[in-house]
């Protein structure tokens, strides 16, 4: 292939050309708009060069919402293509690019930045700090992530998207079987974003360990901060593996090395192992902060302290440790024998124990409480039963002998969406709604928020529950089509209908932001939810320095105790 041929779109279609034109027009419109309103100086000074953790957090969330749209459109295309048997909406190559992009974008460029955005905004406030430990490094992290994400996103109009799945297994992702530049985008874009994430990990570990308010020892930290500390430890231990794996992949694809190829001693199994040694901890990187968010919200709206604080911390530490010794359950079928599979089955099922502890602690936080059903609380309450279904199907998948039948099927797809969506997506939507007034000084409409909550929750179950059934009926994942005789048609159509419900739910969230920005009351207190931790103790909007006087802390719920016992948490001891 000639050098420049590799940048041609491998399957030119009207949709791709339309996207090119749309991207061009949007960019011209944005540049023209900023120039017309004379906002270049404002944008440059206040946002592009900012090192303020709150603004960096908001930019992370904006980017995550954009990527949610991108990944969501991909998801809709997949569900539309498979809604009826032998559908011709997308061809095989196009479908492969779409599901690969969907996976990478949703995990790395939606879930991660959404979590990191909330972590940026909330963590320093919760520990009573004035910023993160290394504010400039924090900006570097954000821009590395953002550039990685953008590089990945232009691939579909310049050279074609990666098409080897988000797991990018070799030898499929090698030059032998994936000739276009798509998989090069994968290797390089994720590498850039991944280094940003690694720097974030270091930054927040130092911030939490060194910059807590006086009196806040580790066992007095709010649960969200605890979850962030543990998450960042996982990041620092797991991401270097991805960095190395992607570097080897880049060398294989660009410089002719043979780490993962079929010939000359290369090993495809090495890639699978390296990928999942990072990949499994990665799913805990996006789920533990979610657990932290739920702990804050459930306790706030049950109007009670979090039940079993110590066991919540211990269970998170246990989960993070176990997360590093379960990776081989992603490929029981690779043939490593009954002994290895047995051990990995047991370590995997063991994760159910600390996770169960957390579920029961949340349930008992409701006990003797006074539950208020706000939008953040609705997401948190819906999370418990749906995530339980995701968790128990995880235990089923952990059983190696049975996994030989679930592996690579829609059952697996249903399972991980049942953990990732109620786990991570509901959590970031809940956290986003919960901390919105602190970020912007007004509240999102509860009424529109509840409509979108019901669309998303019901739509989610209608989309993904049928996949458990088609999976058990032998439908493999990642098939761009199937014949009518398989009988998968009706349930796939049901999934598509559910996906439309989900799309309406997300559209309502966008409408809610628009509506509330225009019409919501600006006259709110610093503590509109009657919450419990220090981020609510400072002014809204938050001054750049966060706290004029650094608070003093002597319980896990410093702000609540101050309100209830009329303690002066600003007193200098």
């Amino acid at each position: 292939m000639d050098y420049f041929d590799r940048f041609a779109v491998p399957h030119p279609s009207p949709a791709i050309y339309a996207s090119m034109v749309a991207i061009g027009l949007t960019m011209i419109a944005v540049v023209a708009g900023i120039t017309y309103f004379k906002k270049w100086g404002y944008l440059w000074r206040e946002w592009l060069t900012t090192v303020d953790h709150k603004r960096i957090g908001i930019m992370y969330i904006l980017a995550a919402l954009l990527m949610l749209f991108r990944g969501g459109v991909d998801a809709l295309m997949m569900r539309a293509q498979t809604a009826i048997p032998d559908n011709g909406l997308l061809d095989g190559q196009h479908y492969n690019e779409v599901f690969t992009t969907h996976g990478v974008v949703m995990i790395l460029f939606m879930a991660m930045p959404f979590i990191i955005g909330l972590m940026n905004i909330v963590t320093p406030l919760q520990i009573g700090a004035r910023d993160v430990a290394f504010p400039r490094l924090n900006a570097v992290s954000f821009w590395l992530f953002f550039m990685g994400a953008m590089l990945f996103n232009i691939s579909f109009v310049v050279g074609g998207s990666p098409d080897a799945g988000w797991t990018s297994y070799f030898p499929l992702a090698s030059n032998d079987f994936s000739e276009s530049v798509g998989s090069n985008y994968y290797a390089i874009a994720i590498q850039i974003a991944g280094i940003g994430t690694l720097l974030t990990g270091i930054n927040f570990i130092v911030t939490i360990l060194k910059m807590r308010a006086p009196g806040m020892n580790l066992m007095k930290m709010p649960m969200f901060t605890w979850s962030i500390l543990i998450t960042n430890f996982i990041i620092v231990f797991a991401f270097p593996v991805l960095t190395v794996a992607l570097a080897l992949m880049t060398m294989d694809r660009l410089f002719g090395t043979q780490f993962f190829t079929m010939a000359n001693g290369g090993s495809d199994m090495l890639w699978a192992n390296l990928f999942w040694v990072w990949g499994h901890p990665e799913v805990y990187i996006v789920i533990l902060p979610a657990f932290g968010i739920y702990s804050e919200i459930i306790s706030t709206f049950a109007r009670r302290n979090l039940y079993g604080y110590n066991s919540m911390v211990i269970s998170m530490v246990a989960i993070s440790t176990l997360s590093f010794i379960v990776w081989a359950h992603h490929f029981y079928t690779m043939g490593h024998g009954a002994m290895v599979n047995g051990i990995f089955s047991i370590t995997t099922m063991a994760i159910a124990v600390p996770t169960g502890v957390k579920i029961f602690n949340w349930l008992f936080t409701l006990w003797k409480g006074k539950i208020v059903f706000t939008v953040p609380m609705l997401y948190s309450l819906a999370f418990i039963p749906i995530f339980t279904l995701g968790g128990v199907t995880g235990v089923m998948l952990a059983m190696a002998s049975a996994d030989y039948q679930y592996h690579n099927t829609m059952f697996l797809v249903a399972h991980f969406h049942y953990v990732l969506i109620p786990g991570t997506v509901f959590a970031v939507l809940a956290g986003f709604t919960y901390w919105w007034p602190k970020m912007f000084g007004f509240m999102l409409s509860e009424k529109i928020g509840k409509w979108s909550f019901w669309f998303i929750t019901i739509g989610f179950n209608v989309t993904f529950f049928p996949m458990f059934i088609t999976g058990l009926d032998g439908q493999a994942r990642r098939m761009y089509t199937y014949s009518e005789s398989t009988g998968y048609g009706p349930l796939n159509m049901l999934s598509f209908v559910g996906a439309i419900g989900l799309a309406i739910g997300f559209a309502l969230i966008v409408y809610n932001i628009y509506w509330s920005t225009r019409y919501a009351s600006r006259n709110i207190s610093n503590d509109p939810w009657d919450a419990r931790s220090l981020e609510w103790a400072t002014h809204t909007p938050i001054p750049e320095y966060n706290f004029a006087i650094v608070p003093t802390v002597d319980s896990t719920e410093a702000f609540w105790d101050a309100k209830k016992k009329a303690l002066n948490y600003l007193a200098v001891k």
């Binding site: 098409d163 199994m269 079928t333 690579n408």
Partner: protein, 309 residues
């Protein structure tokens, strides 16, 4: 309320699907001992997990019904409760017992499905080499000295050992009604133990994504009584043409080729990557270096052919 209705609907759907359908789900409709073991494990785990879900749901519905603000006095102040050692011990101990139970089931059955099925040990297993190339399956029967493409004939009541490997991307060999899947990879041979009890036609496929033709990489499985199977083998030997290296290389080119049958097997001129032919160190020693070099060259030749489009 809506949550309750949603859950009821879900439970109702599960119940209908698992019990009363016309077409039972493939994985839960086993036609051989391995798939039967796996279906049993799946049902054991579903019932155990149903118990867990039930406990969580009862607690959950109790909590959100009883402790909602609308049912409390306005001046009610929820108490501060640290936690309870007794309760914590209960909800650590019971899950550990459940996990221990499921671990025993898993280890026992994993060993079972990774060996010749019980009750079939007295027979010599039928060995079939199943190799994948983009996007088809080649089945070599060394014992019968025949080769088929994209379809399998199997005798009932005889243990079968599939030797799996690939001429291209990682593929996964799967016949849901006979048993779970295993990977076919380019640099080593995996062994999958299966057996069939009931004559019939079953679906087999590659379930591991391997590029643009992956969705159609399926094969038909015909299970016959031993007598019919022998008849089929004799018929093939009488009618089919021998497979040649040239013909085989033709078949390896990426694409879909339909079904075909040959006498002889490709293993004669293109041995499987096992023993001294393995892609990485699984037993080749220095003295055999020349042999393994040959097979490497052969391998890279094949991979070249595969992307020659």
């Amino acid at each position: 309320m809506k949550i309750k209705w949603a859950l009821l609907t879900i439970l109702f759907t599960i119940a209908t699907v698992l019990t009363g359908c016309d077409n039972p789900l493939m994985v839960l409709d086993p036609k051989g001992p391995v798939a039967a073991t796996q279906a049993d494990v799946i049902m054991i785990s579903i019932w155990t997990m149903a118990f867990v879900v039930l406990v969580v749901m009862v607690l959950y519905i109790f909590m959100i019904m009883k402790y909602r603000a609308s049912k409390q006095r306005d001046d009610y102040e929820p108490p501060h409760i640290e936690g309870s050692k007794v309760l914590e011990i209960i909800w650590v101990a019971i899950p550990i017992l459940i996990v221990a139970f499921l671990s025993v089931v898993t280890v026992k059955t994993t060993n079972e499905v990774e060996a010749t099925p019980k009750g079939y040990g007295d027979q010599e297993p039928l060995i079939i080499y199943a190799s994948s190339s983009n996007w088809k399956w080649h089945f070599s029967y060394p014992e019968e000295d025949i080769e088929t493409v994209n379809y399998l004939f199997l005798p009932t009541n005889r243990p079968i050992e599939f030797k799996l490997y690939s001429f291209g991307p990682i593929s996964s060999f799967w016949i849901p009604q006979l048993g779970g899947q295993k990977y076919a990879m380019s640099d080593m041979v995996n062994t999958l133990h299966l057996a069939a009890d009931v004559p019939g036609e079953y679906m087999g496929r590659n379930s591991n994504f391997s590029g643009s033709g992956f969705a159609q990489q399926t094969f038909n499985v015909n299970v016959l009584s031993p007598e019919d199977y022998d008849k089929w083998v004799d018929e093939i030997k009488a009618t089919a043409k021998p497979i040649t290296e040239e013909k085989f290389n033709e078949l390896l080119k990426p694409g879909h080729v339909g079904q075909s049958t040959y006498t002889g097997t490709h293993l004669e001129f293109s041995p499987a990557p096992e023993g001294e032919n393995a892609g990485h160190d699984h037993g080749s020693s220095d003295t055999e270096e020349n042999d393994s070099k040959d097979s490497h060259e052969e391998h890279s030749e094949h991979s070249n052919m595969n992307h020659d489009h």
